[in-house]
């Protein structure tokens, strides 16, 4: 088919590989390709089976809140952005900046009931990290030719590392 020579065909295939990998290897649900006029290529968003990222300061807020209520606070997963890339690609900071400028911190279809959390309540400080305090982040999904996909978080701005 003539379309196979188009660059979009390559991006389509790349997106498919990552979608497939997310659903079948990492058990994501609701993973969807997302196109947007100001995005240079389709992105993906979806829900991982368990929570992928907790900011170190959020972790402190959670521990404080747990101390007060003497029980664990459940940590349901958050919807994450994914940017499919091929290992052979070369991206400039300008391109990454373009992607970050085009997306919202919270992907569409996130069930952010926490968004309306009572900000007066210090016990609920940690909830803000799922809403207003959430910074822009995305997963760089890098595909190699043998269809290995590796995932790295990329954050917009200075975000201190987690204490793994």
């Amino acid at each position: 088919m003539a379309t196979t020579t188009k660059p979009e065909a390559h991006l389509e295939a790349l997106t498919k590989i990552v979608l497939n990998n997310l659903e079948n290897q990492h058990d994501w649900t609701g993973a969807k390709a997302h196109t947007q006029a100001n995005l240079p290529r389709p992105m993906i968003y979806g829900l991982p089976p368990k929570r992928l990222y907790v900011h170190p300061d959020e972790q402190i807020a959670i521990i404080k809140a747990e101390k007060n209520r003497s029980e664990r606070i459940p940590q349901p997963p958050e919807v994450e952005w994914v940017l499919p890339l091929h290992l052979a690609e070369k991206w400039s900071p300008a391109q990454f900046a373009e992607v970050f400028d085009a997306i919202n911190a919270i992907p569409p279809e996130s069930n952010n009931e926490e968004k309306s959390a009572d900000s007066e309540n210090p016990d609920a400080q940690w909830k803000a990290w799922r809403g207003a305090k959430r910074g822009k982040r995305l997963l760089l999904a890098t595909v190699q030719d043998d269809s290995t996909v590796i995932y790295y978080f990329m954050f917009d701005g200075l975000v201190k590392p987690r204490q793994n």
Binding site: Y53, L87, S92, L140, L158
Partner: protein
């Protein structure tokens, strides 16, 4: 909290002009007061490069001078917190114009430094003696004091003159001044030659303006290691690398750096400066056009 600390730090900077010596293309600070000042108020720890004349190859107990990165020297000058001096030329010109009273004052200051050193030695020796006094049996007290005398003469052999001639000074320890600020209280000529900074300067300025401390980054494979406070108290948060705004970065570079960073519990920070409209504008000392991204392994 980080910004809080930084703001406090910035608001209370005492007015001090740090003397930075340019020697052989390197930027060195010799005065310990200056070293403390820039560490405390400008978030720069730089690298200690001074060693001992007796053992120049040892590298674990390094002291003043500190060697500044060209970035650090430029940032200090841009913030009007330091001035650069071409040390060789400055020394020559100042020594030539020195009058005899200045000479005398200099020798006097050397002597007082040596006296101060002697006092420190005496004090610590006295403390040692006091500490060990109860351990020594009465009968053996004599030989130990004799050995102390031998020690005295060892420390006092700073001058080559015969002991009988300069009996007063022979006991004073030799002192090698680490800075010539007594010799030359003010530097007449400030070197205004432009400081050549590496292309990573905007990232340095960006991080320094946000209160981060920076050390060389080679050990983690980046341009800089970035600490959230003084490296004496904190582990590094990031290994940072600077890229051009439109520089094409192979994905493998980002992956390997991200992998290494995660392995050492740091984030990989990539920074780039967005070009501005103005042509050949000086890099901004607060790095306001710098954009940074952090990369960490996702754990999946």
């Amino acid at each position: 909290m980080m910004t809080q600390i930084f703001l406090n730090m910035a608001s209370a900077v005492p007015d001090r002009q740090v003397r930075v010596s340019r020697i052989g293309g390197r930027y060195l600070v010799f005065d310990i007061e200056d070293v403390v000042h820039i560490r405390r108020h400008h978030g720069m720890c730089a690298v200690f490069v001074g060693t001992m004349p007796q053992n120049p190859t040892q590298s674990i107990l390094l002291s003043v001078p500190i060697e500044l990165y060209a970035e650090e020297a430029k940032l200090l000058v841009d913030k009007k917190a330091a001035y650069i001096v071409d040390d060789a030329a400055d020394h020559l010109s100042q020594l030539k114009t020195m009058d005899s009273s200045a000479r005398k004052a200099y020798f006097q200051s050397l002597k007082s430094q040596r006296k101060a050193a002697q006092r420190v030695f005496d004090d610590s020796k006295a403390k040692d003696r006091a500490r060990h006094a109860h351990k020594v049996p009465k009968g053996k007290a004599l030989p130990s004091s004799a050995s102390a005398e031998v020690e005295d003469s060892l420390f006092g052999s700073g001058t080559s003159a015969p002991a009988s001639v300069v009996a007063e000074t022979v006991r004073l320890p030799a002192v090698t001044p680490t800075a010539s600020n007594v010799l030359m209280p003010s530097s007449a000529m400030s070197d205004t030659a432009p400081i050549k900074v590496p292309p990573t300067y905007p990232l340095y300025a960006f991080l320094n303006a946000r209160g981060y401390y920076i050390t060389p980054g080679l050990r983690f494979g980046g341009d800089y290691s970035v600490y959230p406070g003084d490296p004496f108290r904190f582990h590094a948060h990031y290994l940072a690398t600077y890229y051009g705004w439109d520089q094409k970065i192979p994905m493998l570079d980002l992956t390997t750096s991200g992998r290494l960073g995660t392995a050492v519990k740091k984030g990989f920070l990539m920074g780039a400066e967005k070009p501005t409209e103005e042509q050949d504008a000086e890099p901004d000392p607060t790095g306001k056009n710098v954009r940074v991204f952090c990369i960490e392994w996702a754990g999946m």
